[in-house]
């Protein structure tokens, strides 16, 4: 047993922390909110050059052969900087889906471009009625000659506005909530019959509602086995969940540090407010949750790529549940301890709050993962 970083991981960590500190000022991030894509293509290119987009991909496909722990290191720093570039969508969800589901030809053609920052995939994992149930798929893909015709709707598809490829779960057989009968398709972002309604999210990202009307794709658009994609989707989403857990850990650590600093410097009643015992103990609770949240994210990252699906599900759901609960407490208390100042849009505190709130919902909230954990 050894929980220390390798030399390579230390290098990645240094480089991403430096990037977050020096090259990703909060003001610039806010201005990105006014652009149509909501992020910087220049920054995306930098991510590619630094090897981050392919960090968890094998070298054969242009990656650097790392693991979910490397992803965790990046995501933690991205959390701290509130990075809006579509890393978890494209590199984690997209990358994992293509790597685990793709044929050799698909992998060879797509993954190197993803790692180079030239291809931006996204995964349409939710439908208007599905809530957090990945198997609740009403979108259909009807066989038509060698290809398929897709009809239906997908909701809250992150960064679809920028996506070259949308990975779409669609029903090739079975009924709405059947486990069997779901297949994955690669659909070009500008495919005929695919319409988007784009919007910003409350936490400063971009998402879209997608409508598929007679969208035709070729037989080579199928990703993975026909009718049997649900286990793959679940694995991919578990990788995404593990990644956003790490992002949340980065945010919580930043909130912890900012709040602790505030307690030490803000004076009221003639002394720093950190002299008040109630605030001291509250801060200890925050500290304890941050430490445990990081431990849980690490557990998930060390388990999510392993061979045992039950262990993977348990670790990911435990981490997501814990981090959902802890994130809520930490973000609420960070605002509370900052007082009215914590309510302002000017301070980063509120933006951390919003992102943590949305991470709880993402891929299923604390309750969803508690139940999933309990069923395993």
């Amino acid at each position: 047993m050894d929980l220390s970083y390798t030399n390579e991981q230390n290098l990645i960590r240094d480089s991403v922390q430096r990037f977050a500190r020096d090259s990703y000022p909060f003001d610039a991030r806010r201005r990105l909110g006014e652009t149509s894509e909501g992020f910087s293509r220049g920054t995306w290119k930098t991510f590619a050059e630094l090897g981050w987009l392919g960090v968890a991909l094998p070298e054969a496909y242009g990656g650097s052969g790392g693991s979910a722990v490397d992803v965790m290191i990046l995501m933690e720093a991205f959390g701290r900087a509130l990075v809006v570039e579509p890393y978890f969508t494209a590199a984690v969800l997209g990358g994992t889906a293509l790597l685990l589901g793709g044929s050799e030809a698909q992998k060879r053609s797509l993954l190197p471009r993803l790692a180079a920052g030239e291809l931006l995939p996204t995964l349409a994992f939710a439908e208007p009625q599905s809530r957090f149930d990945l198997g609740d798929v009403q979108t259909t893909a009807r066989q038509d000659g060698a290809g398929f015709v897709i009809d239906g709707a997908k909701s809250v598809v992150f960064h679809a506005v920028s996506a070259d490829i949308v990975i779409v779960p669609a029903r090739t057989s079975g009924e709405r909530r059947d486990e069997h009968g779901i297949s994955l398709f690669l659909v070009e972002g500008d495919a005929a019959g695919l319409t988007r309604r784009d919007y910003p999210t409350v936490d400063g990202h971009r998402a879209s509602e997608l409508k598929f009307e007679n969208v035709r794709v070729g037989g080579d658009a199928l990703l993975g086995a026909r009718d049997a994609a649900l286990p793959l989707i679940e694995t991919v989403v578990d990788h995404g969940t593990s990644a956003v857990c790490a992002e949340a850990v980065g945010i919580m650590a930043a909130l912890y540090e900012a709040t602790l600093e505030h307690l030490k410097t803000r004076e009221q009643f003639g002394q720093p407010i950190g002299r008040f015992q109630v605030l001291q103990h509250r801060m200890v609770d925050i500290f304890a949750m941050c430490e445990q949240a990081r431990s849980m994210a690490l557990m998930a990252a060390l388990t999510v790529g392993g061979p045992d699906p039950t262990a993977r599900r348990k670790a990911v759901s435990a981490a997501k549940n814990y981090i959902g609960r802890a994130g809520r407490f930490v973000s609420q208390q960070a605002v509370q301890l900052h007082g009215a100042m914590g309510m302002t849009d000017e301070l980063i505190i509120g933006h951390y709050f919003k992102r943590l709130t949305m991470i709880d919902t993402l891929f299923g909230n604390a309750d969803h993962h508690l139940e999933r954990f309990g069923r395993l």
């Binding site: 509370q336 000017e346 919003k354 709130t357 309750d367």
Partner: protein
């Protein structure tokens, strides 16, 4: 002992209920019901309807235009307004500066300000907090220096709610720097249109614009706008705090929100069944409902003591703490209920003017912003930590 209203009380309740149903503008009701953002005019139209009926200032003495209600009537009125989705009364004029002027103001101040508060002709705001003095009000710095028949005022107030709408501001100002901090504070009424007053909006992280910084640069304020005596401002501020009890728990408004939560939970689906039938989510709703019952009946007991002649005590701090905790809990559950559709940011749908259909269900757009915004409730009006300090000292004797 009786938990139910007697015949007179029931008749009164019916009267209020009818009035709200008839006179509350439909568009305002719609906004309140759906947690949308209210404009100045929305508040004013409702306030003016109440004024015409003689119900604008439930807590005021009859001689100044109060309706002369019993505490129970006041409670019924609050409750019916909330259940009927009337906007909350802006407290700054009617519940805050009004009672201070009634108690401590000069006859001239009464004659000049009270009728305009009653009729909502003047919109007031509150100048207490300063950038350096949040919870620790006594260390405020904004200065008012007497010069002949006026005060020269310099400094800044902050977190001033809806100052952008205000005609007048009541301020705690420092008129003396010597002696005990509290003793150098005075209570001054300032016209917002005075030269030297500027308002800087502060956007909150939910995207709203409710609070402001107000700057005072060599503002001349007539000496006749001083309330009571110089150096007694702290006393008046404490009086005001003790006065602000009615409706502080906001039970009826929270009940309306729970109803809304139940409706949304019935409309949302989880694993193919209504979310409202999910045992864990139902347990959460039931818990907050029960907490609300506990708060409601604590308030009724306090009300009953008040009817029996006991003055309201610092227990009102408990109503504030539990009231805001429950409000915040409900806003959280509303976000949970709606799943992914909490995510889209659609500011146009937070007002009423959008022509389009929103992304997701119609009830969704306001939910996350309301959750974010409502974090303020445990901070403003004395943070809940400060309220606990007050109870520990004043009630528990610790």
């Amino acid at each position: 002992m009786d938990l139910t209203f007697n015949r007179d009380e029931q008749a009164f309740r019916g009267e209020v209920r009818r009035f709200v149903a008839e006179r509350l503008p439909a568009d305002v009701k719609h906004k309140v019901e759906n947690g949308l953002r209210l404009e100045k005019d929305d508040y004013l139209r409702w306030q003016k309807a109440l004024y015409e009926k003689g119900w604008a200032a439930p807590g005021w003495p009859v001689e100044h235009g109060g309706p002369g209600w019993t505490p129970v009537q006041g409670y019924i009125f609050e409750q019916e307004c909330a259940l009927g989705d009337a906007p909350a009364v802006m407290p700054f004029g009617l519940n805050m500066v009004g009672p201070v002027i009634i108690e401590f103001g000069s006859e001239a101040q009464k004659a000049r300000f009270l009728p305009r508060i009653l009729s909502s002709e003047d919109w007031w705001c509150q100048g207490y907090s300063e950038p350096g003095a949040g919870s620790d009000l006594a260390s405020l710095k904004m200065s008012a220096v007497r010069a002949g028949d006026h005060y020269a005022v310099n400094g800044a107030k902050t977190w001033t709610t809806l100052a952008q709408y205000a005609d007048m501001i009541f301020c705690l100002v420092r008129t003396s720097a010597s002696g005990k901090k509290q003793e150098g504070i005075s209570f001054l009424l300032i016209d917002m249109k005075s030269p030297g007053v500027t308002v800087r909006p502060i956007v909150t992280f939910d995207g709203g614009q409710e609070i402001n910084e107000v700057f005072f640069e060599d503002v001349e304020v007539p000496a006749e706008n001083l309330v009571g005596e110089e150096g007694k401002g702290w006393t008046y501020a404490k009086f005001l705090l003790g006065h602000e009890r009615v409706g502080i728990a906001q039970v009826a408004r929270s009940k309306r929100q729970v109803e809304r939560l139940k409706k949304i939970a019935a409309a949302e689906f989880k694993d193919g069944r209504p979310l409202a039938d999910d045992p864990n989510f139902r347990a959460k709703i039931s818990t907050v409902e029960i907490d609300l019952l506990a708060l409601e009946h604590m308030e009724l007991r306090i009300l009953s003591d008040e009817t029996a002649g006991q003055a309201p005590g610092p227990e009102s701090s408990l109503l504030k703490i539990r009231g805001t905790e429950i409000q915040q809990e409900i806003t959280e559950l509303l976000v949970e209920a709606v799943g992914y559709y909490a995510a889209p940011y659609q500011p146009a749908f937070l007002r009423d003017g959008a022509n389009d259909e929103p992304v997701g269900p119609g009830y969704a757009p306001a939910l996350a912003p309301t959750y974010f915004n409502w974090r303020k409730a445990s901070i403003y009006g004395g943070s809940n930590e400060i309220q606990k300090n007050i109870i520990a000292k004043a009630v528990l004797g610790l």
